[in-house]
Symmetry: D3
């Protein structure tokens, strides 16, 4: 279990620990180290709820995500728990009915993990050690990825007889610069290293140890937390929106977005402090 | 001519050779080495038919594509054959009518080459020596690209006075990590090397010789052929589908896809062998 | 001020200098070196007009863009001029009315800069020294980017309390190979170097000095200007169109485009000179 | 208040009454007749929750929605309640911050009403008497609309100084056959009658009284509830999905959807009963 | 069996009869009247092939489609033949494998029927008597629909336990003016009359008898066949393309399309004959 | 020539007359009655400029468009003027070059007419007498269409050997409720009457005479001009934006749009006057 002090507003979670390493920064830890931080349904529901709460928490301006303990960011789906569900165990239910249950189940899982992408605050994902299967789906929902040099990455789903369905196949090809590489790792389910992740652009930084990587993540989050929240959250939203639409549509949305945003005090404050070479102070958002 | 033994089901093809270097693996060779494996209409029609057939062949789970002989993967369009066609030779036909014929002609050509992308089995493209013009259009339809160090790549079409129209301009920018580079090679028609192709993410591996590259391609295909066909083919489909739609639409499609796929035996088999640390065996698909 | 001789057709511009370093090549310089080539409204309107004119100028086949003077490609928005506008200064106008004025203002700005992307001739952007804020929006509209080793890049908008809205957030993620990197530089507003720009694929070449970079840009433009204008302009159009649509839609558009283009003399000329190993000559377009 | 007997699973709702007029049919009533069934935030949150619950309730196969009492389906937003919120009353908060609060508020409202569209069971909306403002947003989320002859429709938002933002402007133009008519009623905020609604295709049936309209709605729902749930729910999903994508994408999704659905027993049952001219019986879904 | 004289080029088809009631007009008849023109796999493959052939036949400028005999346009899928297939009969094959076979089967069926939409010549569909299930999928692929007053329409699939998957759910909502009506007929599977089809805009004309309807269809086709083929085929293509893209994209495609088309002789001929008030003559396309 | 008194700001136009029949209402007349209001290039450039100017004119809140004189709304393209252009007359220019000129020419024409759709104020188009060819392209860009009973409509382009390319084929199918009807009138080029236009939803009102129709148009514009400009212009924008995107994207854009709009005084004014039953007064926008 992580030894960090939980933020009071987040103490009800059982598997997720939220602490605050500095002003306006939240540190979210997947906190099942004995299970290699594997995800049962209970874990992913909590995960989604945490990020929904962070999205509306005006005391948080940037988020760091990591796994508790040294052995894993996360080993992915808690297969043992999953195979206890009626969903995965063989049953004689009607095929169409099982398909409906499965669709509903996958959707809940996708939505819970996707809550991190939808969270309006930037999220820095710090990976280390075992980071396979769901670990990649999760990392793909973060804004910036950094990792420890001992990270063992793998898009592992093919090895349990299925195509990844919580987001890796939808998002990874849009995050890195080589589809040939994406298909290689997704089709073979092979491990790839921190260095390889860096060279294809999946992560932005590699550090010597988990500790150093978390430290760097917190430092980066601290930098973001000192910036204008209007500017930072707008930047996240506009990049994410732009991914899925044409440039013309993105420019149109941007125009409407900023027509309200630049009327806020942050822009005046930012502009003036730029001209006067003073340090700006930004109100809560 | 390639000296491989053709698979019985594929002996009717004249310019394409299909052999099997191992269980569930097909090796497709463009087999006109004297013409630098250049494509006349007859060749591209065969090419499309081969991949349509492979897509439905349950004895094939992974495909390697290469060119026969040492001199070229392919030198692209067989310009001499093409200039014999009424299509390219100057005629006094009506401009609108010629436009219709040309659209139909380009569509047939696009569809034939695109059959490789549509083929449900993963395709590893092994490039070597002369790999220009159509070679790039073809390579862009593969899932994973590897090459020999002597490969001479070029998006050559500008040098014959036309914009590439069989897929390079549509697919290449979505496969690699630098649009500045893409426009450079597409606008200048300049050669680029295996090393350059590797550094921009166009290919995933470079090997010392064609032989080594083909060997690596077959090894990779063999790995894929041992995996669950349900998982592998689903992964290919979901990545390809996701390229052209928003992440939300991709996730929705994924959900529906897997609602059937994970009811198959491969998933149960994969899951159990994972828990029991045994080697799974997957049925034909 | 730049010392180049302006092209006669472009002498009416006050802040933009257009000269011709060789046949069919135009060199566009942002020409306010004392202001670090910063953009007031007057500058961006001229910028748009220049590229609209170049698009229709049949004596121009390729364009190089750079900043005049040694200190900056551009320092971005002329903040002092901007804060004099009613738009940015605090006023007591109605919020909805201000939103309308702002939308209209941003649209004009976006359209002026986007004119460079819409220009039918390829544009090579040469960056050097200070290249921040709007410099990135502009560079993203070019086809090929090269820079001097002393270039200081930054997506600076967050530091003045706003999300970039002239195109960087819409285009940059589609130009380079790492979204993690894009979000890092856009959220932190940190500087990045020429070398970093090269390694993520933002620029294609780094040169020792501004002079060397401009020289390389002109050389590249000269190469493009010797090619078939039908082929070069078609290639630019098809890549740009393809960015925003599915591959299927891109192939359909390509087919219709080339059905006219290959009936032109350039294709016949290109094809024949290829067969006969002669140097082709292409007419004005 | 409605006098119907609530379904046990839905008794916790305060403003929404859910009863069952027949096997597998649910009747949802907006139940604030003294307030003309106007919506405060509490009402719309309940509304969303009811439809989320119905979507997963296997004892429900078709839903009828109406307003309680004779005076209104709904008079729309409870303006008095809304003007008590900090959101709408004038405050001196920062404009950018207010914009963020408003976006979040509108999103919650949109999602709550949209839950009816997302509900997997078909919904028949029965309108009568006052049906203005939000009434149209709600009706647009239903599958089939029928109404009493005394219905007074209006897209009323322009008359309170705003553009409708809970879905009317997004959905209405895709539901009826004349954009000229849509813009007329949306821009003028004028009333339109049951007969006019019928003639433009907004409603499918007009009945003499609310009672007759509800009766017809229940009869139609009963018909749907006797059909195969797999077929009915699939049909709703495929039509809704198809609205937002190209025909090619819709056909692709359909193919994947039915590849699981027709393996269910409903299809075998439906097919056999068709051949044998017997009445099919379908299991719960 | 129809008594029309088959066109020589189309005599090899067994279930489809193609005759020519006038210059440049083809009349296609589904020719299994004893089976109510029901479709087995053999029929739909022929159907697709006929329209692919018509698309390239320069002696055909407009097509009329009807069913042979008086009893049915078509009763839809030949359920008896279908239940003999391994596909529909219960088998113990793996669910994932059956899903793959089904996807492939549905795709083939969709493509065969869709060939009529893709055919470059306008198709007028004449419906009469029994026109249920697949009849609607087929009619939706035509350009103009007319019918006899005795036509009995139904989107029948729900009654055999499935959602329609050959195109009705994808296309019908985009062809008519009331989604409420579309969902009513698709969810209830109820019959609707010629008059109802006319009032919602599904058909453009209703005639007293099949004979009169076919006569009107041929007259309309004759009118189209006298027009410029460049103009007529361009109009079909541009409307069909526009259905699936934004107006901006449609205008862009239109521009490129016409840049070739208006260079043809038809435009000069049409323009001149308009100025001179003479009857134009158009060459084959 | 129209006898209305031109608005001072619009007196420089030669072929377009802009007058003001009431507060905040502009009446735009195509003013070449001797030429049946046909469009030469000069006319369409003026047409675009007028609507660009109206879009930014805060003294205008609603626009009526009609043709001057009794004989025609417009007879469309001024074919005689057009055939004098190098563009349409036969020349021996290169086909690819002509294609480029034509694309540029069509784009200018499309943009000029499309300026009316882009104009932020609602436009009511009043058609009468001859309204063929370009008349339909223009009418499709208006928000609401009304007409005189003597209107003679036709999508005439097929009769001059070309597919319509200024917008009819892109917009008309999205404006009315029967694609079968759209293709009928577009493929046959036949005339259709005011009554037919009403029944398919193309126009919203038919009046006995041109005078009565213009009167009704002005009355409707007057109604719109008394409403909140924030609400009216927002409604136009959101419906137009929604036409081209998914409902989800439309809702997202709506949310961002209204987050600024409802902070304006019009919303407070509209809300309060609604509660107090007073007549609201709205400031200029």
């Amino acid at each position: 279990m992580s030894s960090a002090t939980p933020l009071p507003a987040y103490t009800s979670y059982k598997h997720i620990l939220v602490s605050s390493p500095g002003p306006f920064v939240a540190h979210v830890e997947i906190n099942r180290p004995k299970k290699l931080n594997a995800f049962s349904q209970e874990v992913w529901l909590e995960f989604g709820n945490v990020f929904n709460q962070l999205s509306h928490d005006e005391d948080v301006r940037a988020v760091v995500l990591s796994g508790a303990g040294d052995r894993a960011f996360t080993a992915g789906l808690d297969v043992k728990a999953a195979s206890g569900d009626g969903i995965l165990s063989g049953s004689d239910a009607d095929i169409a009915k099982k398909a409906k249950v499965l669709r509903s189940h996958i959707e809940e899982f996708q939505d819970s993990i996707g809550a991190m992408e939808k969270c309006e605050k930037p999220v820095i994902c710090v990976l280390h050690a075992v980071s396979i299967g769901l670990a990649i789906d999760i990392a793909c929902c973060a804004d910036i990825r950094i990792c420890a040099s001992n990270t063992r990455f793998a898009v592992k789903e093919v090895d349990i007889g299925m195509a990844a369905d919580i987001g890796t196949l939808s998002r990874l090809p849009k995050l890195v610069g080589s589809t040939s590489w994406v298909k290689d790792v997704c089709l073979t389910a092979r491990d790839f290293s921190a260095q390889e992740a860096l060279s294809v652009g999946f992560v932005s930084q590699v550090h010597d140890s988990k500790q150093a990587a978390v430290h760097a993540g917190v430092a980066l989050a601290t930098t973001l937390a000192e910036k204008s929240p209007v500017a930072v959250q707008g930047t996240k939203e506009l990049i994410n929106h732009g991914r899925d639409v044409s440039v013309a549509e993105s420019l149109r949305y941007t125009k409407v977005w900023n027509a309200a945003a630049v009327q806020g005090k942050d822009f005046a404050e930012g502009l003036m402090s730029g001209l006067k070479k003073t340090k700006p102070r930004f109100a809560k958002l």
